[in-house]
Amino acid sequence: MNSHFLLMAVFAIFVSLVFAVLLRDEPRQQLRLGGLMLGAFLALAFVVGWLMYPLPL
């Protein structure tokens, strides 16, 4: 499994799950917070990825 995006997505799922369960008590709220965090993780990865695109390595 060498896809950077897939690895980041798996990481984001774990972190979102734990934070959502830790910070909210109701399943509905947990789902909302978890989904929001996961979406933010993935969206920011796209944005930062494209921002870094023109940078030389």
Binding site: L7, F11, F14, L17, V18, L22
Partner: protein
């Protein structure tokens, strides 16, 4: 009206200091054990499965169980974070796994998974402690 956590109610204001210490220790060794103790079964089961799985995913990604070498502060701190996962750390050490493969493309990802799993368990321990203190 019925409440969702009867055991948590029994804790009422706060548990005994010795009990709190025991719960924190147990929660460190087995992620989610503190929540299970207080009757927060769903939360406890999620932590019990997710955190060790995250740590083991890190090992599978060729991450490294860092040694306690404080001559390199970041390595030492990473070791403390790794240790946060509790029993899984001891099992990994006993099985002699988690050497890390620096040349693997997934090495840094593996390290991140393992470090963050340990750090998240510290938060879970603090949450269980707060429940024991009657703050939640």
């Amino acid at each position: 009206m019925a409440t969702k956590s009867t055991t948590a109610d029994r804790v009422s204001a706060s548990a005994e200091p010795a009990t709190l210490f025991l719960i924190a220790l147990l929660s460190w060794l087995v992620p989610g054990a503190g929540h299970l103790w207080f009757g927060r079964r769903e939360k406890g089961i999620v932590f019990l499965i997710a955190l060790p799985l995250m740590f083991l995913t890190g090992i599978w990604l060729e991450g490294r169980v860092f040694p306690f070498d404080f001559s390199e502060p970041l390595v030492g701190l990473a070791a403390v974070a790794n240790l946060g996962i509790g029993l899984t750390w001891f099992i990994a050490r006993a099985m002699d796994i988690g050497h890390g493969l620096v040349t693997a493309a997934t090495y840094e990802y593996g390290n991140t998974f393992m470090i963050v799993a340990g750090l998240l368990n510290f938060l879970v321990i603090l949450d269980a402690y707060d429940i024991g203190m009657g703050r939640k």
